[in-house]
Symmetry: C2
């Protein structure tokens, strides 16, 4: 059942040929610009900013469908092979990953709205660090995709453990705070949700980085298939 | 940029032609059999059952890669068109969705382990109902895929709101319990995580059901594109 996957080693930082990323629609405001920074908004900042992601999310949803239509059209009309074929298959997956990043951005914004209304606790420094790392991973994964840089892709994958560790720290810290002061439980749950959403954004950035390695090298490193 | 998608209305309950589901590897124990039932395991049942999903998850991960390899091989060698092409694109997405269901099953099993060790609270009836509905949705979505039944696919999509509503109920109930008795906060957080994972399983079942409609009718109902 399992066929040998065509392998090409045509340079890890070479730009994509023929049907490269420029074939696909470019977002005016990508999920990368939406996701991680909502958590940095402290109490007292204008609440209008927390409402913007819903509009941006619809745009991301629409762009995902456009990418999928473009891929199906190219598959039907161009009969792409090897790296071009891998790029098209990866493009639908990456578009789906980015659509999910957009969903997480909306979730974070909704928690931010509630946290701003309650004003009972400030986010932990660990949460701000998670936001910084998750955003950097997403940005790096997209750079790796655009540049066809498998080396950068692998580096991004290695950073996921750090965000996971921060998520566990945030969980333990919030649990302690909730035990000490039950009045903050609602707000602490929202901070936990933000942490969970950031952890998922880092996972999705890792998926994208894995797909970059697959496109460039024809080699699957997903699910730690490299060992 | 957006090309008109090829549309075919070749019967909603007709079996898939040429590269139908039988082309793909069959799991010995699918994520459907893993995900929703971990939550039904009450205190006192053997804990060994909660450890099984890690092994099953690796098998699901492996099967996802096999599906992807099969799709790429078929795209490269068969130049499929119209419905066959849509089926192959959908197959990679569905395999990815099922891999994520497997991850959620592992998460639920991990929470189940901790809940069994703590034995401080029993799951809410709403949570058991969520497990029942999420499992039924996943099973229905896979039936719809195997049978090529767009009508069943649409029905599954409509059921997602019910699971979302139950998730919100569980959240409110747990919040109240935590406020009343801070000693159960840790366990309540785990029940909340189980609820969140079940909600995501229902979302993934909905994704699969949407893809079935897309394969059969060439029509996108994702992101409520139908209005």
């Amino acid at each position: 059942m399992s066929a040998p996957r065509p392998t090409s080693q045509d340079g890890s930082d070479e730009r994509y040929s023929r049907c490269g990323p420029s074939t696909f629609p470019q977002p005016a405001l990508g999920p990368e610009g939406q996701a991680a920074d909502h958590v940095r908004r402290g109490p007292g900042r204008p609440r209008a900013r927390a409402r913007r992601p819903a509009q941006g999310d619809r745009e991301v949803d629409h762009l995902e469908l456009e990418v999928e239509e473009t891929v199906i059209r190219l598959l039907a009309t161009q009969q792409p092979m090897a790296r071009d074929l891998r790029l098209l298959v990866a493009a639908t997956k990456i578009a789906n990953d980015l659509e999910r990043v957009g969903d997480h951005a909306v979730n974070i914004a909704q928690s931010a709205e509630r946290l701003l209304a309650a004003r009972v606790i400030a986010p932990e420094p660990e949460l701000l660090e998670m936001a910084r790392q998750a955003r950097a991973m997403l940005s790096g994964a997209l750079d790796a995709f655009v540049r066809g840089d498998a080396g950068l892709g692998r580096e991004i994958c290695r950073r996921d453990d750090s965000v996971d560790a921060l998520h566990h720290s945030v969980f333990r810290i919030l649990l302690t705070h909730m035990m000490e002061d039950p009045h903050i439980i609602g707000a602490a749950m929202d901070l936990f949700l933000v942490s969970r959403n950031l952890e998922r954004v880092a996972d999705l950035a890792t998926n994208i980085a894995e797909d970059v390695v697959f496109v460039v090298e024809g080699k699957t490193i997903k699910h730690h298939a490299e060992g």
